[in-house]
Amino acid sequence: MVENTEISADEIIDSFPWGISVVDRGGKVVVWNRLAEELTGVNRNQLLQKTIFENPEPRIYPLAEKIRDSLDSNSFFQSINCFSVKGSSREVFSTGKIIIDKQGEISGLVILLKEEREQEVRAKDRREQKDIKVPVHLGEMTAMLEELSRVKSQFLSTISHELRTPLNSIIGFSEILIDRTFGQINEKQERYIKNIYQSGKHLLSMINDILDLNRVGEWKSMLSPGEFPLSKVFNSIQGILKIPALKKNISLTLAVDEKISLVQADEVKLKKIIYNLVDNAIKFTPPGGKVEVEGRPLDENFIRISVVDSGMGISIDNRKRIFEKFEQIDGDLTRKYEGVGLGLTVTKRLVELHGGKIWVEGKKGKGSEFIFTIPKKIKRFACGHE
């Protein structure tokens, strides 16, 4: 088609008003045009001739996942991803279509990227406002803050790893001693070693919580929306937490109202929300109690999911505090429970990312009810700047 002209195929691809990318069957990136660079903030020389799955740039991960699924399942995809470029976030609509060669085999995938229209207009508004009122260096400052936040995340995850290695040795060796793998210990020694073991476990769960909380920041730009049956998530939670519940002789039931079939959300994160709540409920419910999870419509726009336990309940004063960082209800009673209560902070943030709310009801001494809502249809995913 372009044989008799001076214009090269590359120039044509580069001047397209859509971001264009082509990956081969193995995920190797062969085309990544100029607008794709601009929309994602990822340069072509970071990508070309490498497989997109191995790219070290985290902002590419959600898109790479879609591409992998698409190649694996031989189907097209559509998704909206947030990319943060030079201090501002944008929502980019992407769609991919499988390329079939003459033999009928999959030879790759072509991906089109386009900035979401509404967002484009809003971004333009913002730029115009900026021109009038805001000093020029604001953009640079935002970029600097983002860099700072990235460095912080990196630091935390390195530190967490470095802390965990010696901690696992503390836990592992004390476990071996408690099990008397290498011979007898006396009662006092056993008690001391158990203290070491439990403190180690406690510290480990704290570190894991901090890592989780740290990840929420990264997750912000990485929500990958999907549509799936709520019962699928419930079944998976039931599968994971059945044994811990059984061990405490707690009856665990999960029920979805038949009026809810499909939900729109980020599946992994929704699972994390429900998992955290149910895991907590099991932890704070005495043996022989019950934990009930229910999903039903709240109104036309929202779904309501509740987790009810027969634990000790939470006083009114404490209801807001438990969602704050490092808060667990005080008093001796809770000392016997592991964890520091970062879990609920993570949970709350994840609910809010979806555009929902979370709160707690119930009476002290008579169990608690944790309730959260998520929109039935996720209209827009919150980008980093919101």
Partner: protein, 120 residues
């Protein structure tokens, strides 16, 4: 049960824990802290199984596994990845001809049994 196991791991705690738990079951244990030492000991001692840390000071575990699997003298020795990474290493390990993987931190109660299963 006199099978020989080479533990390749640079973190002392992990190495010692694995060594003690396996020695208790009657295995003969050899240790190496880095890739070069591991290759030398593999050729000299001909272990039945190698428990291989995936991150070593001088070489990536996977690259070391490839060297051993490419060498006719050491090709048939079972290699088990010893890893802290969940998903990524699992697939790679199987692709590289490894027998499987064991997660870090060690589960002290099941560790020796799992190694025993790899040796069957």
């Amino acid at each position: 049960m006199n099978e020989k196991i080479l533990i390749v791991e640079d973190t002392l705690f992990n190495r010692e824990m694995a060594k003690d738990l396996l020695a208790l079951e009657g295995y003969k244990i050899i240790e190496a802290e880095a890739g070069k030492e591991a290759i030398e000991k593999t050729i000299d001692e001909k272990p039945d199984l190698i428990l291989l840390d995936m991150v070593l000071p001088d070489i990536e575990g996977m690259a070391l596994a490839k060297i051993l699997k490419d060498n006719s003298q050491t090709r048939n020795i079972k290699i088990v990845a010893f890893t802290a990474q969940v998903e990524t290493d699992k697939k790679k390990a199987l692709d590289a001809g490894l027998s499987g993987h064991i997660m870090k931190p060690i589960d002290t109660k099941t560790f020796a049994r799992k190694i025993g299963e790899f040796l069957k």
